[in-house]
Symmetry: C2
Subunit: 213 residues, 2 copies
């Protein structure tokens, strides 16, 4: 069991953009930032429910498969779930449709908890007003020996990295410069200490970098 | 003939550090930031005058060789030459000893020009109080058809990148987080537009990324 992060960032370190609207919840740059991942066969199957076998099958797809493997619980911030965009809608159920790709308990950190939501396919959203550490302990308990992923956004991931609670950090760096958004790397000096580092590049230009403790 | 940049940066985008002293002109992090490059056979030969053949010979060394190949003139900022550390020493001749590794004319951008300095081995330092564009034109004239390198520091490189004057940008990304210093990537949104992008990783963990127009 490890505590994992898998995140896509731009070359200049932005993990999300700040020009979000309800129509483009991740900002106008999102398609370019996650393009290589969204093109994989695994993403198409798991997220888009495309069963035709379409999609790329190289290194990006291997990481996409790994993304979904052996995750027993996920933790995400309120912004990633969409509570910043839809703070007053008690029926908001996330961006991922009726059958979200997580297929495990998902803990959403928020100062305004709401009742849990059970979705099709094994995903249940729980809403917690608590510390990162306590949320992690709850996630570990329900993960049943499987991994816990800190899903995002970048601010939540940074909180967990700073607290030393992440065992494996995988960033997929898209070689584009966004110039704006929320930086993953702020104030993380020396994060690499004690880690083994693996770097691989895929034909899409994506750099897969893994820090493993 | 191309206008080139070759720069080493940390994963969080810092090209130099801000804790410089006369004893550690590039800051205490410098050895870790440039370690893979400084370990190459080419660096040892060309910069350290080590003729024993010691040093690494893999991908990092190939980039180190390329670094020195076909450069007809170089442009650097006052900080890289050391004028911020030794502003009042008219005899300051840079960090690189009597025979600097450049072996070509080097134009130092400064608001306080001083007389040119001819060094052993083909390097001459010229001091210019002018615009980036004009300095480039002067460098192109003396480069005799060879490449012109924008050597650094990051602020000067960024000026040239923003002005659209760079044909080839090679960054060697060292997988460490410095958390402080001068960022290369500030305010360069969309720099990748129209570029072909090459990404390679070396066993040292260094990511070599090239944007070519």
């Amino acid at each position: 069991m490890v505590v994992r992060v898998d995140l896509m960032i731009s070359l200049d370190g932005f993990a999300t953009t700040t020009d979000q609207t309800p129509e483009t919840p991740f900002g106008e740059d999102w398609p370019r930032l996650v393009g290589a991942y969204a093109a994989t066969r695994t993403f198409r199957e798991r997220v888009l429910k495309d069963t035709t076998g379409a999609g790329t099958t190289g290194l990006d797809d291997e990481y996409a498969k790994e993304y979904f493997e052996n995750v027993g619980a996920e933790i995400m911030g309120a912004g990633m779930f969409g509570l910043r965009n839809f703070p007053d809608d008690p029926n908001w159920r996330g961006w991922w449709g009726d059958e979200p790709p997580f297929r495990c308990p998902v803990f959403v950190l928020t100062h305004k908890p709401r009742p849990s939501i059970e979705m099709a396919g094994g995903t249940t959203f729980h809403f917690l007003n608590t510390t990162p550490d306590d949320a992690l302990q709850q996630a570990v308990r329900v993960a049943n020996g499987k991994d816990v992923r800190i899903g995002g956004g970048p601010t939540v991931v940074r909180d967990y990295l700073k607290a030393g609670l992440v065992d494996r950090l995988h960033v997929a760096i898209t070689p584009i410069l966004l110039g704006r958004g929320i930086r993953l790397w702020d104030d993380l000096r020396g994060l690499e200490a004690g880690c083994t580092i693996k770097a691989e590049t895929s034909p899409s230009g994506t750099i897969h970098l893994t820090f493993q403790r």
